[in-house]
């Protein structure tokens, strides 16, 4: 396995665990109301926090697979070499997005949360942990884009 495959695999395991926890959490919320008639107080907050993590980490995983929806009429009309060049540019745009919003913006968001000591209302966990997935997933997207770019450059050179 190369590095990219290893990261894919790690992400998969991580996401399977998160998603399974999510299902168990919400089923538990229903069950605790009926079977134990003692509703739990944190399940809904935990669920939405998990969803942020599944959504963001999942989005990075999907970038790794290059499965994000796009209108690829223009790329498909180009010659292979030109298409590769355009894809490099698109990956550059993805890096721009991930770097500015997710890594820089996300890190500032997380940093200020910790500095302000903000905690969630039910679980009383620092909100910074919840938002931390934003810069992490941004870094993963940047990694995948850089790897894509290096492969595209190889393709162009070999032609």
């Amino acid at each position: 396995m190369n590095l990219r495959q290893k990261i894919d695999k790690l992400l998969e395991i991580f996401l399977v665990v998160l998603m399974s926890t999510l299902v168990v959490d919400v089923v538990w919320q229903v069950a605790s109301r009926y079977i134990f008639s003692n509703p739990s107080s944190f399940t809904d907050e935990l669920a939405v926090f998990l969803l942020i993590w599944v959504g963001m980490a999942g989005a990075a995983y999907v970038k790794g697979k290059n499965e994000h929806l796009a209108i690829d009429i223009l790329p498909d009309k180009l010659t292979p070499n030109r298409k590769s060049r355009l894809l490099i540019f698109i990956n550059f745009l993805i890096i721009l997005f991930s770097l500015t919003i997710m890594v820089v913006g996300g890190t500032w968001l997380v940093y200020t949360r910790f500095q302000m000591g903000q905690v969630s209302s039910a679980l009383q966990v620092p909100i910074g942990y919840v938002y931390m997935i934003v810069p992490i997933s941004g870094l993963l997207m940047i990694y995948y884009s850089l790897d894509d770019i290096s492969q595209l450059i190889k393709t162009i050179k070999s032609n």
């Binding site: 998603m19 669920a47 599944v54 968001l109």
Partner: protein
């Protein structure tokens, strides 16, 4: 004011540029949103606000239903359930003119209702029905056109993820009410497609299905019951108040897991891969939602919804005309854009107009929007369901364009009926007191 206009110009032109060159839609949305923000904000507030909007955009209990219904759909996606539903559909409509064509539509409606995914429906039903219809003499392009259009009915018939997305975009329209509102319009679309198919099959003298002995019919019915029960569990559970719409989605996961394990379609070993597939779809949808929430913040900040509504209302004061314009605008959007981003971006713009100016119920407008964008799912150049239908039928998109036309017309007629007869959407929710 000048500054505001500059923001709008940056937003529209950067978005179109990113989209056209083939940047993934979610990234295009986020990039043009942040570019617009930079017109009026410093960099750090702009970047961190976008990051916050994206994360908190996913922080909604209702949104949880989306990965759950996707997972339930994945578990249901195995051939066994599709096959049982097809056999069941054959018992109901197989003997009518154009028998197999009607079976295709009915099976799509049932499967789409359960799985909540038009794409899954088109591939599951299309894979089985395509070859069968071909054997009986149907043209392949006709079968595929019928398959893709009828696959979209499952998005109106509940449970339906896109209705959950709409509920989010509308600022909290009741999911339960939306689900109930979808039944008649979804079924009506199915019936309209069947009519077109029946007329066509009658003209071409296609055979009807062979008679099914009564005993056999009863067996097919019982075979299909466990699969159909999922609808009863989910929708019934919400109406009976056993759980909320979101919790119902988690219950659907449990139910379909048990069913899949009993049918031995799935073993515990398959589960990780099924969850990974679920996360793939979820991650794609969630990034779209997150970026769209960021964009809608920027649009609100720049007062864009008000600007658009002002422009639209200056075109005409006739409610009928305004609704027609909105419908045509949405159809145009659907040609180029996928359903989820379209709902997320255009609901905040159009909903205030139709509710406050035209007095429409938000539930009614939600159904209008879904039926409208359903057409977009099966029009080139961007049509997810069309692509899948073509790939399972091994056809090119251009092969389908001509046979699709009568079905487009049928969908458009139903869209107009649903737009101008609110009762079609609101009667059932009213019945249940929503």
């Amino acid at each position: 004011m000048e500054l505001d206009m500059l923001g709008i110009v940056v937003l529209i032109f950067s978005f179109i540029f990113f989209l056209v060159i083939g940047t993934p839609i979610a990234y295009s949305i986020g990039l043009s949103a942040v570019a617009t923000m930079l017109v009026s904000f410093d960099t750090l507030p702009a970047f961190s606000t976008m990051a916050q909007r994206m994360a908190t955009g996913l922080e909604s209990f209702s949104l949880l239903a989306i990965p759950f219904f996707i997972l339930a759909g994945q578990l249901m996606n195995s051939g066994g359930i599709a096959m049982r539903l097809i056999e069941f559909a054959k018992v109901i409509v197989g003997r009518l003119p154009g028998g197999l064509a009607l079976v295709n539509v009915t099976a799509n409606m049932l499967f789409g209702a359960i799985s909540g995914s038009a794409a899954a429906s088109a591939s599951a039903i299309g894979t089985i029905m395509g070859p069968r219809m071909e054997k009986e003499g149907y043209e392949k392009s006709f079968s595929a056109a019928l398959n893709v259009t009828s696959a979209t009915t499952g998005l109106a018939i509940p449970p339906s993820n896109i209705l959950i997305v709409y509920s989010l975009a509308s600022g909290g329209a009741s999911i339960a009410a939306l689900f109930l509102a979808g039944y008649l319009p979804g079924i009506l679309t199915g019936v309209a497609l069947m009519l077109v198919a029946a007329v066509y099959a009658h003209k071409k003298k296609y055979p009807i299905a062979e008679k099914v002995p009564f005993r056999f019919a009863v067996k097919k019915f019982f075979d299909a019951i466990p699969s159909l029960m999922m609808l009863v569990v989910v929708i019934g559970g919400i109406i009976a108040g056993l759980f909320t719409a979101t919790e119902a989605a988690a219950i659907a996961v449990v139910y379909s897991l048990i069913l899949a394990l009993i049918y031995k379609e799935v073993t515990v070993k398959h589960l990780p891969q099924i969850i990974v597939n679920t996360v793939r779809t979820t991650g794609m949808v969630m990034l779209l939602i997150a970026a769209s929430i960021g964009l809608s913040w920027v649009m609100s900040f720049e007062n864009i919804p008000e600007t658009v509504s002002y422009a639209l209302l200056s075109l005409s004061s006739d409610p009928f005309v305004i609704l027609l314009i909105i419908n045509l605008a949405l159809l145009a959007v659907g040609i180029f854009m996928d359903m989820t981003p379209a709902v997320l971006i255009f609901t905040p713009i159009f909903l205030p107009i139709v509710t406050s100016q035209l007095g429409l119920d938000p539930i009614h407008f939600g159904i209008i929007m879904i039926l409208n964008l359903n057409v977009g799912l099966v029009t080139p150049p961007v049509g997810a369901v069309l692509f899948i239908g073509c790939s399972v039928a091994k056809l090119k998109i251009q092969d389908l364009v001509k046979p699709l036309i009568p079905f487009y017309i049928a969908m458009f007629v139903v869209l107009l009926l649903v737009t101008f007869i609110p009762e079609l959407s609101l009667w059932i929710p009213d019945l249940f007191g929503y």
